[in-house]
Amino acid sequence: AQTIHQWPVAEIKAVGSPLSLGCTIKGKSSPNLYWYWQATGGTLQQLFYSITVGQVESVVQLNLSASRPKDDQFILSTEKLLLSHSGFYLCAWNPGDWGAGGQDTQYFGPGTRLLVL
């Protein structure tokens, strides 16, 4: 069975400080990977997706960047946090077996809660 882990569970950071959030998928090779951001009490906004190692596409940047250094790992980062970065960050995956698109069901990780002060 596939498992998805996110780290850290929660962070409290200062404005202007750097950030790195991680996501790891176990039990599935070559998954599609996704990053989402959720404001408190809000909906989910897709930020980035990746269909293969080394390739990341931006949907909405929000002054963040993403990288996929390994097949099972997806990193979200920024060099300088803003107050508006506070929220809940969710990583998701789907099998990537649908050829040209990522329409298959996405499965979500437990999320990382970020508070920027």
Partner: protein, 114 residues
């Protein structure tokens, strides 16, 4: 542009009552549709999905949803709710033509009163 609308931000029902959470979508073709549930401070869990075929789909925990192309809707239903169903429910749309985006509605906060 594609979109998902959940017109009810909050719904309160009594335990044992029936439930319908509304979802309307905007998309030029037939989309793939999903309902997810989010419990406090947790990630999203898939309840059910519609790809094609029978417009009534069954999901986990006795939830079901009905797809209507004529109404552009995908309403979630449950015959008898339990207090543990209290959560936020999201409807989402995936386009069928090679897009990588999953578009979410704004969510409906469900409170089940004991």
């Amino acid at each position: 542009a594609q979109s998902v609308t959940q017109p009810d931000a909050r719904v309160t029902v009594s335990e044992g009552a029936s439930l319908q959470l509304r979802c309307k979508y905007s998309y030029s073709a037939t989309p793939y549709l999903f309902w997810y549930v989010q419990y406090p401070r947790q990630g999203l869990q898939l309840l059910l999905k519609y790809y094609s075929g029978d417009p009534v789909v069954q999901g986990v925990n006795s939830f079901e949803a009905e797809f209507s192309k004529s109404n552009s809707s995908f309403h979630l239903q449950k015959a008898s709710v339990h207090w543990s169903d209290s959560a936020v429910y999201f409807c989402a749309l995936s386009m069928t033509s090679g897009s990588w985006q999953l578009i979410f509605g704004s969510g409906t906060q469900l409170t089940v009163m004991p």
